[in-house]
Amino acid sequence: MTTALSIRNLHKTYKGGFVALKGIDLDVSDGDFFALLGPNGAGKSTMIGIITSLVNKTSGKVQIFDKDMDEDLLGAKRYLGLVPQEFNFSMFEPVEEIIINQAGYYGIPRKEARMRTEKYLKLLDLWGKRRSEARILSGGMKRRMMIARAMVHEPRMLILDEPTAGVDIEVRRSMWQFLQEINDRGTTIILTTHYLEEAENLCRNIAIIDQGEIIKNTTVKELLTTLHIETFVLDLVTPINSLPEITGLALHQRDAHTLELTIDKSVTLNQVFEKLSAANIEISSLRNKSGRLEELFIQMVGKNNLAKMNQA
């Protein structure tokens, strides 16, 4: 499998002495949908800044596909598309000019750039806004415009730094679908997000970064198997006013129609249903509660912080 991104012993110390990255090692495979998670200030944006050459590294190696950034920076940049966390376009330029210009920076002639701009603005449902100044777009539209801008040169690797921050659920879902489609067509995607549900739904592999270090780097599936407890949402046939005491089950009543059940993986659902039936609780449907990754993330980052405090 070709490696899309290879990072070795990456360090970054800012001018004021703040150490943002403490020797990061990371590999992302070609075609992967990779999540980079971490709390605020963990070093995610610094790492992305270095990969996209917006931040100067202190030391270490970064290779994008076959191009080492120290040896062929411009070649490495060609492979990349970036959707940054903050809006970074001229608010007074029309949407289509922003996209066409971005294509031009990659050497794409204007005629071809116009065609690609049309393609991506239509795909991201922004074609109707092509002549509007960027400043009048809504927050969700601005984010989608930045995705169109990052895709116009059709990069092999797309990096998205919290792309769905502050957008409504409908827009978020449509962005997920778009990202899934371009990943299916072969674009490697690296995603940082605070919505852990997003990483759980979209990504195959995951790295958790905290205080400038990678504390976990594995597949999402494997990570989730390390979770010993699982939470289900149960919809009831008959509403209940108060929750009866059931020995051995951690139940929480959301409302009269819904219960939340947290069980250890060693307990079977047959056992659960038996106990619920005995208590005259009938279940009409059952689903996993999303956010399992969130529980793990909090556990891991919490443990890491505790370990650091103990060392200090």
Partner: protein, 257 residues
């Protein structure tokens, strides 16, 4: 990037810059034309006839080349400093920084934008001057080359100002306290031969003096300074400022943390 890609990238930055100042022509093109027209009316039309001739020309004819050059200098500078600073401020500079466009193409693109605005305003001022003066061109190629080279030089100066600027105040300090005095003392309104020998020598430190005199030579055929010395000074400044700008850009001064 091959040569064709680089040319496309350069052309893209140039078009972007031209569209930017064209969109806001009420702020970028019209004000310098109005200001220079007032100079023509007041210094040329009203006060000029009382002054008489300057180096064998009507005072109005004498000041026209200097005023055109002043418009070119200030607008080339203003275009690049404001455009580059605003792109830093809005972080839209990152659009270019993440792309494979080489730094010297970015620099040339901004210079192209500055030259385009400088020459646009210069041509507009020249057209206005035709209402006040019978403009005769002594040497067309000197006029064109000096105008372009001077616009390039001050585009570079504006770029360096933009690189170091941390606030909106920083982009107006140099034009107000350095550029304007040097321009006014660069012989727009007078010949340096009118000054005492001491102040004549002091004036020679002012690089703008060489540009205005070279341009005046192209228009009127007279100059206080040798044309070739003027070219040498302008080209030297361009080479030094271009190298300095490129080093700053490569280091990421003001744009990369």
């Amino acid at each position: 990037m091959n040569l064709k890609d680089k040319l496309t990238a350069f052309y893209t930055i140039l078009i972007k810059e031209v569209l930017r100042f064209s969109r806001i022509w009420l702020q970028t093109i019209l004000p310098p034309v109005i200001t220079t027209s007032l100079y023509f009316v007041i210094f040329g039309g009203l006060i000029g006839p009382r002054i008489g001739e300057m180096q064998g020309f009507d005072y109005m004819d004498f000041i026209v080349p200097g005023l055109i050059m002043m418009a070119i200098i200030t607008n080339a500078y203003a275009n690049v400093v404001s455009s580059f600073y605003l792109s830093k401020f809005s972080r839209s500079i990152e659009e270019m920084l993440v792309s494979p466009v080489p730094n010297y193409i970015i620099l040339l693109g901004y210079i192209g934008g500055g030259v385009a605005r400088g020459l646009t305003v210069g041509i507009a001022v020249t057209l206005v001057s035709l209402f006040f003066s019978d403009l005769q061109i002594h040497n067309f190629w000197v006029v064109i080359s000096v105008a372009i080279l001077t616009a390039m030089l001050f585009s570079l100066a504006g770029f360096i100002n933009g690189v170091f600027a941390q606030s909106f105040d920083d982009i107006s300090i140099i034009p107000t306290f350095v550029l304007t005095p040097l321009t006014y003392l660069g012989g727009i309104f007078y010949s340096v031969t009118l000054l005492s020998p001491f102040w004549q020598k002091v004036s020679l430190i002012n690089p703008i003096l060489y540009m205005i005199n070279a341009f005046r030579y192209g228009v009127l055929g007279i100059s206080d300074i040798s044309l070739w010395i003027s070219y040498a000074i302008i080209l030297t400044f361009i080479a030094v400022l271009f190298t300095f700008s490129l080093v700053m850009l490569n280091k990421g001064t003001g744009i990369r943390s």
